[in-house]
């Protein structure tokens, strides 16, 4: 990484349109260089709520720092990874098309591995001081250390959305979900792996079915078959009871909301505790929707932003990353009418006013309180997600 950066910097110094990547420690220099830059933020564009939030971030950083933010809407975050890779292979080591990516998990691991990222920068940003680095898993991403190469901006935790008109009581475990689905065939489905939410369902099921989950924090080894056997027994029983008998799946998370609104299913998985409340406000879910977590707890992780190594506006991107960790942006993101995302901030590090703004939020009719959500379970090592998704695709993704 260092050699590459040195090479990139040397190359920049030589070229006429010199793009110096300012040292993140020197924040004044960063904001000065950021003024007038355009930041192309590649972020999944499938959710109107997120899109609106990003547009608002754009207005704010433009007012405060003179940074123009362009949201490049992706249908799959991996598209951005491909893009940076294509640029590297073509030798375009400066001013690439992407300045910032909403990223986590396997995509982050792949980019970090291939030296495609700028940094470390995250822990040098001024607002890092507000982040709850002790209590929230913001320094490791699916067990991979972030090493300051990505900066956190939202906490997510698995919840299940249920339509109480058809499924009144929460289901406490994966076994209970199987039992209910067998009694009510065709009323449950999940996004098709390798969609991250679908893969999350597999991981969540595996964790819930295992007695001892410590093996999952290490990379997949020879123990794979043995560890996952209970999961495949469970899936073999569950799949025929799914919506369309498991012959078709929604391709993304939000598609499940439409299925609930169409009264095609009654239960869906979500990685955002506030999504159901926000969707009710937007007419995307009936007001009978509520959420629950499993008795043994559910998976949680952080959403990050990272900067590609060849961004020509890394200062602008750092300014945006820093703004995302501000109390102002975090309160807005947590507001269920806007996004309903969990905050990454440490309440004790905030001023009284800032804390009051968080306390004043009405989390929404379908959102669980932090106490009800409980402590989030840690993500398995990313190699598990990849193996589970591949294995699922081989078993159920190519039916017949």
């Amino acid at each position: 990484m260092n050699i590459l950066r040195t090479a990139a910097l040397a190359f920049c110094a030589l070229s006429t349109t010199a793009i110096a990547q300012t040292d993140p420690e020197n924040w004044d220099a960063v904001t000065a260089a950021a003024n007038g830059q355009t930041v192309y933020w590649n972020a999944w564009g499938g959710s109107t709520q997120t899109n609106d939030f990003i547009a608002w971030v754009g207005e704010r950083v433009s007012e405060d720092y003179g940074v123009t933010l362009e949201h490049v809407k992706l249908s799959d975050t991996a598209d951005a990874v491909s893009r940076v890779l294509a640029e590297k292979s073509a030798g375009q080591n400066e001013d690439g098309a992407i300045d910032m990516i909403w990223i986590n998990g396997a995509n982050f691991a792949a980019m970090k591995d291939a030296d495609l990222l700028f940094g470390p920068f995250a822990e040098s940003l001024p607002n890092w001081a507000l982040v709850d680095a002790q209590g929230k898993s913001v320094q490791s991403d699916f067990t991979v250390p972030t090493d300051g190469m990505e900066s956190p901006w939202a906490m997510a935790q698995v919840v299940f959305i249920h339509d109480t008109a058809d499924l009144a009581a929460p289901l406490g475990s994966m076994e209970a979900i199987l039992e209910w689905s067998s009694a009510n065939p065709g009323r449950f489905t999940f996004p098709q792996p390798p969609d991250f939410l679908g893969t999350t369902f597999l991981k969540q099921a595996l964790i819930d079915l295992l007695d001892d989950t410590t093996v999952l924090s290490a990379p997949v080894g020879d123990n794979y078959d043995e560890v996952t056997a209970p999961l495949w027994d469970f899936m073999d029983a569950l799949t025929p009871t799914l919506w369309r008998q498991g012959k078709a799946y929604p391709q993304t998370g939000p598609r499940q909301l439409q299925l609930i609104a169409d009264n095609e299913v009654d239960l869906a998985i979500s990685f955002s505790p506030g999504e159901a409340s926000a969707a009710i406000a937007n007419f995307q879910l009936p007001d009978t929707a509520r959420t629950f977590v499993l008795d043994k707890g559910t998976l949680g992780n952080a959403s990050f932003v990272a900067i590609p190594y060849n961004s020509g506006s890394s200062e602008g991107a750092m300014v945006v990353a820093n703004f995302l960790m501000s109390a102002e942006a975090q309160t807005r993101a947590q507001n269920p009418d806007i996004l309903g995302y969990g905050t990454v901030l440490n309440m004790d590090a905030l001023s009284t006013d800032e804390r009051a703004a968080f306390d004043a939020l009405d989390l929404g009719v379908a959102t669980l309180s932090p106490a009800e959500l409980g402590t989030a379970l840690p993500e398995p090592h990313p190699s598990w997600a990849t193996r589970l998704a591949d294995d699922w695709a081989a078993r159920y993704g190519v039916a017949q």
């Binding site: 598209d79 098309a97 799946y249 993304t252 007419f283 190519v398």
Partner: protein
């Protein structure tokens, strides 16, 4: 004379603009298919990507899906087109269908697919209209219609879009084969309407629309946007799987994608050869049938089937569009309500700013690509008539070639290539990539009227002292205003609908209405899809309206031109 020399090179330049990117992209695909991808530190030549591909459990079904949906969609589209023309050409019903043709044709594939998906899904509009009062479905039935295993929903979506295309192409061909007198003679000899048309006119029409049929076959086999909305996913078609592999975070999958892209190319080539073989067989059988002298062959039934299919196609696309419109202003709208609980302009006000921005980008790209395409086309056609070039069969084939090569086979390679050539992603490369697809349509639309122009007007103008350029600018082009504008509209529609070229070559930095619509489709928010689908459709249809109205306004004082 110097001008004359420069115009001489235009045909070559046009071929380069059209085929250069395709050939370059294909070459850029071959290397990774054999293991060579320096970006991912893979520099060893190997056939492992193909081995991996053949081992993928979904491979046989994905290949089969590409072939079956391609053949089924193409045969059905052709059959319906033929039945409509054979049974109804010259009638009032036919004129109604003809009026709907241009709007239907310019509805982008993605928008049409969204609309149809909402119509036919078990909780969709058709089911809601009859539930629960007739069907008893308090809840939508759990049956697989959209995304079915055999790709039938996808075939429906393709047929709805390809019938208008083939109809338009056939109408153009009808003028050249003296269809009316053949039909009259056949009728006088006692042949039924459909049988007579099939026996006397169809063989000549088919010879004219053979290449467009090939385009339909190649497109149906390799479409991505229609397959994403309506096609199966367990496994998906080969083209969708290629796009999925291309975007896999595991960079090694890029090799498998390249290998699959080559397989896709071979599949299309093989299927085109197979189709050609089928043509010969049908030709032989048809000749026997003609010789037998059968006067009628269930003519009335065939007429009704043709009309029914035509009506289904039109109403399917149009109702789908209406449903997009209703969703775009819907409040809560649950099954089994036929209409939303409440109406709201919130979706529009929410998306308006972005629609405006991306709409401007969409129009600018379309404008530039179309402008260049029209300029090159006119240059070629003018060179043709000044230097007595004639366009050979092979030349026509070249025109169709970019439309027959699957997009998934060459666009990824093109992306890498443009970058290594130092072309930054952005406006210019996207315009050039769109040009590949816009040029053929503009050329096909403009060449016939241009060639059909009565050269005696030019002779008279020359005799009055006008130069060759004077004749072109002051006589020929003004007289051809209507066809030129139609070609512009065709080019516009082709550009507006492009998804993969905009996404891959633009590096995502140039969001258009189409890329936004397909990205939103991933989210499944029907209100947002409705807003963008409609905006996309309007962007494609407006130029057609302009092409119809402008000549009438400009030439309102020239009786011979205003109804051209």
């Amino acid at each position: 004379m110097r001008r004359g020399i420069s115009i001489r090179w235009l045909p070559l330049l046009t071929v380069l603009a059209m085929l250069g990117p395709v050939v370059a992209g294909l070459l850029g695909t071959i290397a990774p298919a054999f293991g060579y991808l320096p970006a991912a530190n893979m520099t060893e030549w190997t056939v492992a990507p193909f081995v991996d591909l053949f081992r993928w459990g979904g491979f046989p079904h994905a290949v089969m899906l590409s072939v079956t949906t391609g053949f089924l969609a193409t045969s059905l589209s052709l059959l319906i087109t033929v039945l409509i023309i054979a049974g109804w050409h010259g009638t009032r019903a036919f004129n109604v269908i003809r009026c709907l043709l241009s709007p239907l044709l310019s509805v982008p594939h993605a928008a049409a697919a969204f609309g149809i998906a909402f119509l036919i899904t078990p909780s969709g509009w058709v089911a809601r209209a009859f539930s629960p009062w007739l069907t008893g479905w308090e809840r939508p039935p759990d049956v697989l219609i959209v995304q079915d295993h055999w790709g039938l929903a996808m075939v429906v979506g393709l047929v709805a879009k390809e019938v208008p295309f083939l109809l338009l192409m056939s109408l153009a061909a009808l003028g050249q084969v003296n269809a009316k007198s053949s039909a009259t003679i056949a009728a006088a000899l006692g042949y039924g309407r459909v049988t007579g048309w099939l026996k006397t006119v169809f063989p000549r029409v088919y010879a004219q629309i053979r290449l467009p049929v090939y385009v339909v076959l190649a497109y149906s086999m390799s479409t991505v946007d229609v397959a994403i909305v309506l096609g199966p996913n367990t496994p998906p078609t080969l083209s969708v799987q290629i796009v999925k592999w291309m975007s896999d975070p595991d960079l090694a999958m890029r090799l498998e994608a390249a290998a699959a892209a080559l397989v896709q190319l071979l599949l299309v080539i093989g299927s085109l050869i197979l189709w050609r073989g089928g043509e010969i067989v049908v030709g032989i059988l048809g000749a026997k049938w003609v010789m037998r002298g059968t006067r009628s062959f269930g003519d009335n039934a065939l007429r009704i089937v043709g009309l029914g299919a035509g009506v289904l196609v039109c109403t399917g696309v149009l109702l789908g569009l209406v449903s997009l419109g209703v969703w775009s202003v819907a409040g809560l709208w649950s099954y089994p309500d036929v209409l939303p609980d409440s109406l709201s302009v919130r979706s529009w006000s929410r998306h308006w700013g972005n629609i405006f921005d991306t709409g401007i980008t969409t129009l600018l790209i379309a404008l530039c690509a179309t402008f260049i395409a029209v300029l090159l086309t006119l240059g070629c056609l003018e060179a043709e008539c000044r230097f007595d070039f004639t366009m050979s069969e092979r030349g026509v084939f070249l025109l169709y070639l970019p439309l027959m090569v699957p997009q998934t086979a060459f666009l990824p390679g093109l992306q890498t290539l443009m970058l290594s050539a130092g072309l930054k992603s952005g406006f210019v490369p996207v315009v050039l990539a769109h040009l590949v697809f816009v040029l053929p349509y503009v050329f096909l639309s403009l060449s016939d009227p241009f060639r059909a122009w009565d050269v005696r007007f030019g002779t008279i103008a020359a005799a009055l002292g006008r130069s060759a350029n004077g004749v072109l600018w002051r006589v020929r082009l003004p007289m051809l205003l209507a066809p030129v504008l139609t070609a512009v509209a065709v080019g516009f529609a082709a550009s507006v609908g492009q998804y993969l070229p905009t996404l891959l070559v633009g590096g995502g930095r140039l969001p258009t209405l189409t890329t936004e619509a397909v990205a939103l489709a991933a989210g499944g928010d029907r209100r947002a899809i409705g807003v963008y689908g409609l905006a996309q459709t309007v962007a494609a249809i407006l130029p057609f309206a302009a092409a119809l109205l402008l000549p009438q306004i400009i030439w309102r004082n020239r009786r011979g031109l205003s109804d051209a």
